[in-house]
Symmetry: C2
Subunit: 416 residues, 2 copies
């Protein structure tokens, strides 16, 4: 990959709470994704704490090797917010009051009728010779500084504010650099084959890839996604080359590919159900509502999802889902027979076209020699038939829940 | 904070998939959390792509300012895995075959009866004069190298493998440095007050804090956590000082504090229910199974959670949860009346002591002038009473779901 043709960007996230592992750094992922999508090459991401020296040296490290750095965090009005001070010191600038920001703050406070401390008005103090990135969601404005051919952008670390402001930042970057390099992705989703086996099957393909295209392996919970990334100036040429390589690749692992879309399994299921104008419901034991959650995260899911029953006790399986007590006594709650009854009954109860049912042992307790932790039965039903399958999914509770959900959604996807 | 008394560590995560924003960097958080807990100061986290030059310069940057660096990723046997090559080049060492690793690989392959490509055996080639961190979960061994007073540790990027191996790494670090510095945290969870207002109320307190103690603001979905961090050599002195500061802090914001435990709301609810030996269930519309999911993520949750109904259509609210059609016609599905019926009825249906019900407009569609996106009604019920409250939670679908779940769990927590 000839990365030097690209605008190179770095991301700096400031905040002790990331360094001590208290929160996920979701901002870096969001920004990296958006920069990449517009053809900017993200070269590094750096996380440092709320310490002046560490922030200054982070500015230096990233601006040495990148054209632009996007900084998040430390722009609030509490005492641990020192990003603005660091920017002034690094670029040798003073703070000056920005009247537009001041008026904007005043109008927000008036409109929302909220009581705020006076320190809020410090937000209107900005480094001289900088531009404002307006914050329509919160109070702290963003800062855009150009210096010595490099650009530093600072925006708040609160995800909603950061996300709302990033669009303006991206537009300014595009205008500033006249971006005309392109990165194009092709996605390949596979099921039922490990990363190592995929890699063996594709080693020949990989060795013959042209330098402008890269292959990456992205293991998910229960399946593996592949990504081809193409870099170049001409979208048309790049598309042609990528399509050619994609067809070579498909040839090697054809029987394992279930989608070429960069979508989650719940999104793929959603597309098919909407297309077919059909409804589904779930009966969840060990996944405990996770399949319903993955489904309802998608906007508009009420069009094809009527809901479900979380049956976290045998009593609920019997009383609400009408599973026969005798079946549970005879085969256990984690069995083909129980999961098939759960699927059939929730389908009737919810009057839907398709249903998923899951019953398994997520651990850490509840396992036995015969049915160890990780044993999960999944059934999918339509109005005529019901199919069930058993999986062994390791011994990590969260992973078992995630993998079970994906296995179940995959089984439904194949049935649709 | 006198950070220089501490062992300073850096984390480097290698992988294009993080830089382009395709996956969350959960490894950094996990490692940072564990290092901090054992008293190692995490000074920086750096993410770079699968490019030799970037990896080498990352080694250099981190080893310049830290005593130890933990590297994840790029240890597999596919072509984009180049961490081992970079280690050899950086420390001027060759690869040599490690017989123990070779035998271990062979025995894993024999036991699991899996078909693997021959390239797997490259995993047994390790930098000379390095120690092996055994991998009991996967195939790639970890590497521990000491050089010039600094330590570099490389472990796989697959979260389960990384997590399993990290314990050995932490033990080796502890043994190597005779760690005797301590970091102690105190947590304060607040509800019903914004970060800015907390900061104003606490400005006096913050100004008087001794240098060995820091205050951090950690906004969550719907509430704000605070954290006091104390640094020092004597656990006893540190505990005394922290307890003193904690009681000062509580004095300023007493009416907003609901817990001093570093637990999620679902964990706090779990503790109370287990203590009282009682059961609960949920009826979820707009949260779509998320409260059930948060609850069932906790090991042992079947002891106090019987499950619930995800009612993602009015028909299900009426047919399964026995909400009166007339009530929905008269007040709408998002109303005090409907959510109260949902709570009362799921309590009876599931035969539990407590119930939560949520109905709201998560958007982006479905809003009106009267009930805009973000309007959420929540009810909690016990066997005698039911209480309902209305919230306005902004316009971001995922945030509305998260905040609604926390508001509901908080209402239940206060009722218990």
């Amino acid at each position: 990959m000839d990365e030097h043709k690209f605008i190179q960007a770095g991301i700096i996230n400031i905040g002790d709470e990331i360094l001590i592992g208290q929160i996920h750094n979701t901002n870096a992922r969001f920004i990296a994704h958006e920069l990449t999508a517009m053809g900017v090459y993200v070269k590094k991401i750096l996380i440092v704490g709320d310490e002046k020296e560490d922030i200054l040296s982070a500015f230096d490290e990233v601006l040495t090797c990148c054209d632009i750095v996007i900084v998040t965090g430390g722009l609030g009005s509490t005492n641990d917010d020192i990003t603005k001070d660091c920017i002034c010191r690094y670029f040798h600038r003073d703070l000056t009051e920005n009247k537009i920001v001041l008026n904007h703050l005043q109008s927000i406070i008036n409109t929302r009728k909220i009581k705020v401390p006076n320190s809020i008005f410090l937000q209107a103090m900005l480094p001289e010779r900088s531009e404002v990135i307006a914050n329509e969601v919160g109070l702290a404005p963003g800062i855009w500084i150009e210096d010595n051919g490099k650009i530093l952008v600072a925006i708040p670390g609160v995800p909603q504010e950061m996300q709302a402001m990033l669009w303006d930042v991206l537009k300014k970057i595009q205008a500033h650099y006249h971006v005309n390099q392109h990165i194009i992705y092709k996605h390949i989703q596979t099921f039922g084959i490990s990363e190592a086996s995929l890699s063996e099957k594709l080693s020949d393909f990989e060795n013959k890839l042209p330098p402008c295209i890269k292959l990456a392996y992205l293991p998910k919970a229960g399946y593996v996604s592949l990504r081809l990334t193409g870099y170049g100036a001409s979208v048309k040429e790049l598309e042609t080359e990528l399509e050619k390589q994609l067809s070579y690749l498909s040839h090697y692992i054809d029987e394992h590919i279930f989608s070429y879309e960069n979508k989650t399994l719940s999104e793929l299921v959603a597309d098919k159900l909407k297309e077919q104008n059909q409804l589904f419901a779930v009966a969840e034991s060990c996944t405990g509502g996770y399949i319903a959650h993955l489904t309802t995260l998608i906007p508009g899911s009420s069009k094809y999802f009527k809901g479900g029953v979380v049956a976290y006790s045998n009593e609920i399986k019997c009383n609400i889902l009408q599973v026969e007590q005798q079946t549970i006594n005879q085969h256990g709650a984690v069995s083909r027979e129980v999961v098939m009854q759960m699927a059939k009954n929730v389908l009737q109860l919810y009057k839907v076209d398709y249903a998923i049912a899951v019953s398994g042992i997520a651990g850490p307790g509840g396992g036995s020699v015969e049915k160890p932790v990780g044993t999960v039965w999944i059934a999918v039903a339509d109005t005529n038939n019901v199919y069930a399958k058993c999986f062994s999914l390791g011994n990590n509770r969260e992973r078992i829940i995630q993998q079970s959900a994906n296995m179940a959604l995959y089984m439904l996807y194949k049935l649709l």
